[in-house]
Amino acid sequence: MDVELLFAAASQILNPWPFFLLFIGTSLGILVGAIPGMTGAMLIALTLPLTFYMDPFNAIVLLVAMYVGAISGGLITATLLRMPGTPAAVMTTFDGYPMARSGKPGRALGLGITASFIGGLIAWITLATITKPLSIFATKFGPFEYFTLIMMAMVLIASVSEGSLAKGLISGLLGMLISMPGVDPATGMPRLTFDWYMLNGGLKLLPVLIGVFAVSQIIKDALDIGQVPERIAMSSKGMLMSAKDFMAQGVNLIRSSLIGTWVGILPGIGASIGSVIAYTAAKNMSKTPEKFGTGSEEGIVASEAANNATVGGALIPLIAMGIPGSVIDAILIGALMIHSIQPGPTLFLTNADIVWGMIAACLLANVLMWLLMTSSVKYIAGLMYLPRSFVLPIVMVFCVIGSFALNNTMFDVWVMLIFGVMGFLMECAKIPLGPFVIGFVLAPLAEEKLRSGLMMTAGDFSPIFTRPLPLFFTILAVILLLWPIIGDWMRKRRASRK
């Protein structure tokens, strides 16, 4: 790490104009992140034409700030309305909302914000220190490594569903089924499309998730529109994490951040999966796994630390090798190319100032995000008490716009509405939504990677057990699956001994 260049870049950002851009970028990012349906990718794509007229350093500062802000803002609506502002905040709804409903919205937001900050910070340290060796190592990550890593997260389907295991499995399998139509990853041919060409592109993550979580919640809230949660005096107590909190959450924070960073480095996986994996790990390692889904502090921390860590993680292969780790990174590469900067293995040599600008912006945006969000928690939490008859229509409009803007087709809007009704019906039948999301997000990736791997080995499954990393992930998955049972058994034994 070149401290001098880093300081130079940081001090350049602290000039009035770049700092203004950093401020605008972070605030807009948080705002867009908080609105269900609107994502950071959309904001950055819309901003791109404006950056044509800026110098490349400033353009990168603005875009990176938006990226950091957008992934953080999602926790606001996830916590207060149980609607994930961005798909990456889905896991936060499981514990953030119950905690907010139980009268601690400030605490729930505060935990999420600080966890986001720590996650961003840990990923940033990785970014600034070991970019190159890490991204070279990531190229060795083959289909079997991906597949077993994803299987480890899939285990969550069994363990995340409260109540009936059968209902959890129904939900998980339904999610997997919904992910199947579209182009078969192993043949390139359409499948399960019933000869209807609109289905050739499959059902997209954004409209399905927004439908199942936001629209179903809107329907539910609209049915008892007059109901407003009991107003509890907001105090700043508990908003900032105390030394005691850090002691209690330290391991979880570091583990979740490292998981998020690593998932960010792997191209094409994304922030949603980072938080799913971190949440699984946190739940399975927890002393109180039964609290997950009812307002667990660990759940909020794991999800938010991990999804913010993916931002820094995803910048690692982008800077070191020109490989975009996420959709937003692909747009960032486009932004650099417009300024005739070729991201790739030689970026460090040709444009060190831009690279360090990116790294410094990532850090400063994180700090700014933390300051902005912490200082406004009080006002943000007040949103929860706004009359729903004002909030819901606005959210609904953004859901429709966001789904349409994804591909410029009405098809996605219909998908969103249909899944909204479906999510609502599932809730009525007490079928948990968590396993549905996990099945939907992970199954296509697991399938593609497994089938790629089997194509490489001509149908031989043995690399799962013979290669070191896949074997490690498989063993870890089995332990995670059995841990709740073993833990239970050990607790009972201890109790009976007494």
Partner: protein, 323 residues
Amino acid sequence: MSRILISLFVGLSLLTSPVWGAWPEKPIKVIVPFKAGGTSDQTARVFQAAMKENNLLSQPVTIVNVGGHYSIGSRQVMEASPDGHTFLLIHIALMGGEGSGALNFGWRDFEPVAATGEFCVLPMVRKDSGINSVQELLSEAKTNPDSLIFGANLGAINHLAGVMLQELVPGAKFRFVQIGGGTANYTALTGAQTNATVLSGAEVVKFTRMPDGSENPEAQIKPLAYTGAARFDQLSDLPTMKELGYDMEFCIKSWWFAPKGTPKAAIEGFANALEASTSTDRYQKFLESKGFANLFLGGNDLQQDLQNTWTAIEPVAKLASKK
């Protein structure tokens, strides 16, 4: 408000169009059946900017990205009203899909408008593979058929190129594996997960060259040949497939289509605007940064070129879809 806008709009268009009722009467929509940010999208936007800056059309051009599978946007254009205000920008994927049976329509269901700029691909291997030429690559694929792993996006451009390559030597066979597009294949080849792939000229320059054009010593991969008709400027030491004695060209052009039944005036008008754009500075710079060769085809030349491409690609696409 909207009424004022409409009347303003109508007024303005009356002012700008030479004869009322002549093409174009309203803004022209170009559908790009891929996500924003990709190569096809960038191409469309460069033409859009070039037309606007040089007043090549009396009406604005708007670009609509239709994501998901490329068949969705393509079909939208096929079914659009043939009034001369909707166009499609696509490439060889359209023929690949028809040939493999993934699509139940194809290039003959559209009116061809123009073909612009082309790029060709390069077969790639690892530097430590011991393979130093196309001949060595193909003879390895023949001696040990189905053992060299060829990274591709199955059914897409790089897959078709791989199939065309192996068909040059009877009995040669790669094992095609789903990896994805250029960047994903660069990653997989660098990580030694695969043994071969094809990349575009611009990708090869980006991943294996230093800014001054010399070789990047850290690159793990190398190109073997260029599949264009002539050598690639930025990698001029590299022979073409033709020079090596192989009858293979694999170049991708941007194809502009209109719905069947679109009036001739509109097709010619838009083709002329496209042709005029190709000589603007903006477009030339774009070609350079992308490693594209300048090219414009319209009318009968275009029809002939499409027919030739189809003759070459249909059997390859059929083979590619066979398991």
